[in-house]
């Protein structure tokens, strides 16, 4: 492989000789001929109607994706609201349990001699104190579960970014279809075909949907840390 002036581009071996310009010209000529043949064939076969259908369906596909994004977003917000409410209730219950624990502990001391309580009453005090003491651990566990539920809502961000990317691709495809449609339409009818608005695709990729076998992306946080460490960070 031979590198050009700009290292971001590479010219395959065998094309970097003196005959390359002529070869490229021939290549462009052949691609142009193929494109013209394709356009003519599509026009003769009446495929401009199919193209128009495909183009008309893309906005609908985009709307459906936007609908999915909106509904998943609403669902995630509902879950987060519920988690917040549950956490508030948990905190309230935990606070009241702490308070009751102190008061029952005082009663437990008072009834320890057994003089002022029936055996059943003393056992009830002991059991209540043990229950209230255990409540702290259970509250912590419930809060940890609520955190897990909250963290699971990050799907909205991740899927939302993927949907946004697909919507941008659909827009680009739509634009290309419009161009193809115009070229495949007889000249006298071209004015009837609307020209789509050009769309620039985002330069950032968003979540990696299929990282297997790729060396340009990291698979997890440990790989990020390793990479940063190798750079001295």
């Amino acid at each position: 492989m031979t590198m050009g002036h700009n290292d971001a581009f590479a010219i395959p071996d065998g094309m970097a000789d003196a005959g390359a310009p002529a070869l490229q010209e021939d290549l462009y000529h052949r691609i142009g001929h193929l494109t013209r043949t394709l356009h003519d064939a599509m026009r003769e076969l009446g495929y401009q109607d199919s193209l128009a259908d495909a183009r008309d369906n893309l906005p609908d596909a985009r709307d459906r994706l936007a609908y999915i994004a909106r509904l998943t977003g609403d669902a995630a917000e509902k879950v987060l609201n519920a988690v917040d409410r549950a956490r508030t209730l948990q905190d309230e219950m935990s606070g009241r349990a702490q308070n009751l624990k102190k008061r029952w502990a005082a009663v437990a001391v008072y009834t320890a001699g057994g003089e002022r309580a029936t055996p059943a009453g003393a056992a009830l005090v002991e059991e209540t104190c043990a229950f209230l003491a255990g409540l702290d651990g259970q509250t912590d566990q419930t809060n940890a579960i609520l955190t897990d539920i909250m963290m699971a809502q990050d799907f909205h961000d991740l899927t939302g970014q993927v949907i946004r990317k697909v919507v941008a691709l659909a827009q680009t495809l739509e634009e290309q279809l419009v161009k193809l449609l115009i070229e495949a339409t007889p000249p006298e009818q071209r004015k009837k075909v609307a020209v789509a608005v050009a769309v620039t695709a985002p330069s950032l990729d968003g979540p990696v949907v299929n990282p297997e076998g790729r060396s340009d992306v990291v698979a997890d946080q440990a790989a990020v840390d390793d990479l940063l460490a190798s750079l001295g960070f």
Binding site: L80, T147, Q153, Q161, G206, P211, V217, V218, V224, F233
Partner: protein, 126 residues
């Protein structure tokens, strides 16, 4: 020392809320939110923040542009800046490090990861 004030920057409200709640669980209750880099930069210039947690891929101004603006501003350049993003390409991680980010977390992440990175950055910048 007063409680550190965080700025959470992400275009998805769900993620801003998750990060805010996680910071609260970790022990940091003082946080504001911005939906993109442009809004964040205005907030940073309008009042004092001690820590930025920012996404990368956002409309108007992305996380890289925000980071560059922060590092180029004499009044803001010292603020710890943690990237929390779905961008998993090595070139983005290297770019973030070279642009002056103090840490980089890939989504999805855990509470433990956020806590570790925030604490580590705070200790380094103490």
């Amino acid at each position: 020392m007063s409680e550190p004030r965080f700025l959470i920057v992400d275009d998805f409200s769900t993620m801003r809320r998750i990060v805010r709640n996680l910071l609260k669980e970790i022990g940091f209750n003082n946080a504001e939110e911005a939906e993109d880099g442009a809004v964040a930069l205005n907030l940073l210039r309008a009042s004092k923040f001690d820590f930025v947690v920012s996404d990368i891929n956002m409309p108007n101004m992305d996380g890289f542009a925000l980071l560059n603006n922060v590092r180029a501003d004499d009044n803001l350049k010292g603020i710890p800046f943690l990237m929390v993003t779905a961008e998993a390409k090595k070139e983005d991680i290297v770019r973030a490090a070279q642009s002056g980010a103090n840490g980089y977390i890939v989504k999805p992440f855990t509470k433990a990861t956020l806590e570790e990175k925030v604490q580590k950055i705070m200790q380094k910048n103490a």
